[in-house]
Symmetry: C2
Subunit: 496 residues, 2 copies
């Protein structure tokens, strides 16, 4: 039995090594690669993806998993070994349905599509982007055909990011959230914050963000922060975490973008060493992962106690811009609800509305009820209906996000689910650390990050998303109430 | 036949994709990776190396090569297809001798050893480095055992960098060069150049170097320049070329280091598109590759005509440091022969002496006549004997180079061979571009780079090193005379 387990572990480690290598290639493409390197990069990524896929679907892994079933059943459900065998079996069964060539083509077109998107976004030219999107979408439809689904073909795509959740379940959550958000947005007081339209030198933004990130609980020499076009976080082990951010000409958005990616980074950093080089060395779902980026970005990074400590250093960093702005004014500005065009710069209240629009559009693209020719118009109409804003051009509209260019369809809903889940977990955090606000006021964030590491991040992907949620909160259900209550309370405080 | 060729090409493309991916991982490790990422990186590199090796030694490649022999023989010797089949056969036959596990272990220990070296060099602690070096050396000895050799076990290692050349042949060249260099160094006039000991802000060094590099003939968006511990150049296609350099606290060495790596980069950039994703998309040998880095660093970058154009911009960049220094004084300073401790900062005359010491030590390490315990002492004694300098500590001695940490043993001789070959090729360049000096005086370098691209770089690895040299110079022999004549003339000019 130990021989079989060792053999399985070696095969899974090889796959993990390849995936991590592919991750390095993706990070490099987005942070450092000269643009003309795209074609070679696409080939390398496709080859690595194909080899990883071939290694995963190997018959021998199926035989090993069969032979290991009695061993798995003899173990505690959440032990490392039982979890490894169980999760590997699901991965294997899913991967066996997808031809290696399709997998490679998806990766190759994703790498190409990303570069086309970068170019098209700069030129605000949807026509330039459409053929790449069409190719990615067609490949995703072929991927969907490899699976069976109950409620909607979109569920197949969703499952890659939010396992075990159906399109219908997501729609149910969103149907409860949307009317409340619309109401809050309409009722939101208009808050002027001209200091958020000033120019902040990016080297100082970086220096301040690094000061904060260093207090979050990362080990030294295990992470770095770089600028990129579209901020993301990726890791190549729990000790090689790459945060990225984007410095805008005006405003301080890069700070919350950095806090956001730091939340993802802390998750990756907290995964237990015993899970390295296995498929368990990640989070159970992107919704859970996103719950943590939103926790650090918003529940920490926009909170009053946090800024009671950090506002003075921020003022000292930017005396011209913030010297005359009081803490209360600053907090009101960074917490206001104000419909805007760009998702990644959206406030907490409007953010999920951006997501729900993308969820609607994606479902229609996948089931064929919306054509790519009509997509920009549908986008603009949706922005008007959901947020009441007029989209001036595609760069600020349908071209703003990197995801579709990368072939990541089914990914967006996890962002709004993350918002919802973050408040469910936050209630557990509050109960476990009663003096958390005092700690934040003292600039102390490591009790928080250590608790989240020990109780969530370290578990990796051993449990399903719902099992993980249940362990933290006592219930497996995704419940929007704490999230809506939080937004209502925030709106009330701002209106007061 | 076309089906077999296509099948061979696909297999070789997959191997190339993996090798390029491994290259990205190496670049990242040396330029951007947080130090604690080493272990995961070593695993990914080992896995990629093992898979590339397994793909290369596949029986099917042997069968394809056999079946393609008649086709190969029907083609022109230097056609793309004939060259591909011929070179792939040699690679296959060499690789078949090496167990995949040994290949993976060599790569894994190289990645680990590199990080140990970085740390040991900073701490100037050979004892810290020795176990990693011992491991790398032992693996290289096991590698040597996979092959047969005529003259010296070292020839096996040399062949990976300088194919078809024996240890004896290298020693013969070096035996002719060394006495002349020693004589020139001893007779060299003492030239003061205090301006080379001043501080030059690294951002201005970078800006000036970039201005120059942009005139060398690189296509935009196909290259980048980054700082690192030990400068190197790597490419992931002919349109993704990564130059690196190191900015010191004093002096302008980073400029010639950047020109050096640009020479490697122009070689990679000039490889014909038709050779991409094949084993031909590289140079025939490191000696030939190095001949080009030395060409751009020295024959161009230390020449009077080059600086007649570029010295004024350099003075404008550094008015405090160079405003009062005349061109003649500058040229004498950057061309003086002066024994020093550090190879990568050595002048043209002393440089090859650094190499010959390493060649002696490596041969002794490989045949067992020198133990690792005695290596620092042998290094220091050699530096005294070859260059007359006293080594103050291991950071400035045996720990200065990255190569042994990476397991690159057999690599160093190619540097001195490059010096020798660069002058043989330079004679051909001079004959082909009679007004080259005038062009350089006008800041025009693209005629030179285009000629080298068309006549050398674009050939890739289709021909052997000697065949390539013969095509350029009319003779396949490595002849040190032009190199020695060049150094003698330079010494004469400085003494005058």
């Amino acid at each position: 039995m130990q021989g079989d387990l060792q053999a399985l572990r070696e095969r899974l480690a090889e796959i993990s090594d390849l995936m991590r290598a592919g991750g390095v290639l993706v990070w490099d493409q987005r942070v450092t690669m000269p643009p003309l390197g795209t074609e070679a990069r696409a080939n390398s990524l496709a080859t690595i993806g194909r080899l990883a896929h071939q290694a995963l679907v190997d018959d021998e892994i199926g035989r090993l998993l069969d032979r290991l079933l009695p061993y798995e059943e003899s173990l505690e459900y959440d032990s490392d070994d039982a979890s490894l065998i169980r999760v590997a079996r699901r991965d294997w069964e899913k991967a066996r349905r997808v031809p290696a060539e399709l997998r490679a083509e998806i990766l190759r077109e994703a790498a190409r599509g990303h570069q086309v998107w970068v170019d098209a976004r700069v030129k605000s030219d949807y026509g330039l982007f459409k053929p790449a999107l069409a190719k990615n979408l067609e490949l995703k439809k072929r991927y969907v055909e490899c699976f069976e689904w109950d409620d909607h073909p979109y569920t197949t795509l969703l499952d890659d990011y939010e396992p075990f959740m159906t399109t219908t379940e997501v729609a149910d959550v969103f149907d409860r959230v949307r009317p409340v958000l619309s109401e809050l947005v309409q009722a939101a007081p208009k808050i002027d914050a001209p200091f958020l339209d000033l120019s902040y030198p990016s080297d100082l933004q970086r220096a301040f963000a690094l000061r904060v990130v260093k207090t979050l609980g990362f080990q030294d020499d295990a992470w770095r922060l770089d600028p990129t076009v579209h901020p993301f976080c990726i890791s190549f082990s729990n000790r090689d975490v790459r945060l990225t951010t984007r410095y805008n000409a005006t405003g301080l958005d890069s700070f919350w973008s950095t806090m956001h990616e730091s939340g993802h980074g802390l998750y990756a950093h907290g995964i237990a060493d015993s899970l390295l080089r296995t498929p368990l060395a990640t989070s159970p779902s992107l919704g859970l992962n996103e719950s943590q980026s939103r926790t650090w970005e918003n529940l920490v990074g926009r909170s009053s106690p946090f800024w009671e400590h950090w506002y003075e250093p921020l003022q000292e960093t930017f005396p011209e811009q913030l010297g005359e702005v009081g803490l209360e004014t600053f907090l009101a500005g960074i917490n206001r609800a104000e419909p805007g065009l760009i998702r990644v710069e959206a406030d907490e209240t409007t953010y999920s509305l951006h997501i729900m629009l993308r969820f609607d559009l994606e479902r229609q693209l996948v089931d064929g009820s919306l054509s790519l020719d009509d997509l920009p118009e549908a986008w603009n109409a949706g922005m008007k209906a959901f947020l009441g804003v007029d989209v001036p051009d595609d760069a600020h509209g349908v071209l703003q996000d990197t995801h579709w260019g990368d072939g990541s369809i089914g990914y967006f809903p996890t962002y709004a689910l993350g918002n919802v889940i973050s408040l469910q977990i936050w209630a557990a955090v509050r109960a476990a650390i009663p003096d958390l606000d005092d700690q934040m006021r003292a600039g102390e964030l490591t009790t928080l990050s250590a608790w989240l590491r020990d109780n969530l991040y370290s578990l990796g992907r051993k449990l399903t998303p719902r099992e993980t949620l249940e362990r933290l909160t006592g219930s497996p259900a995704i419940d929007p109430e704490p999230y809506l209550a939080y937004l209502r309370e925030k709106a009330g405080a701002l209106a007061a």
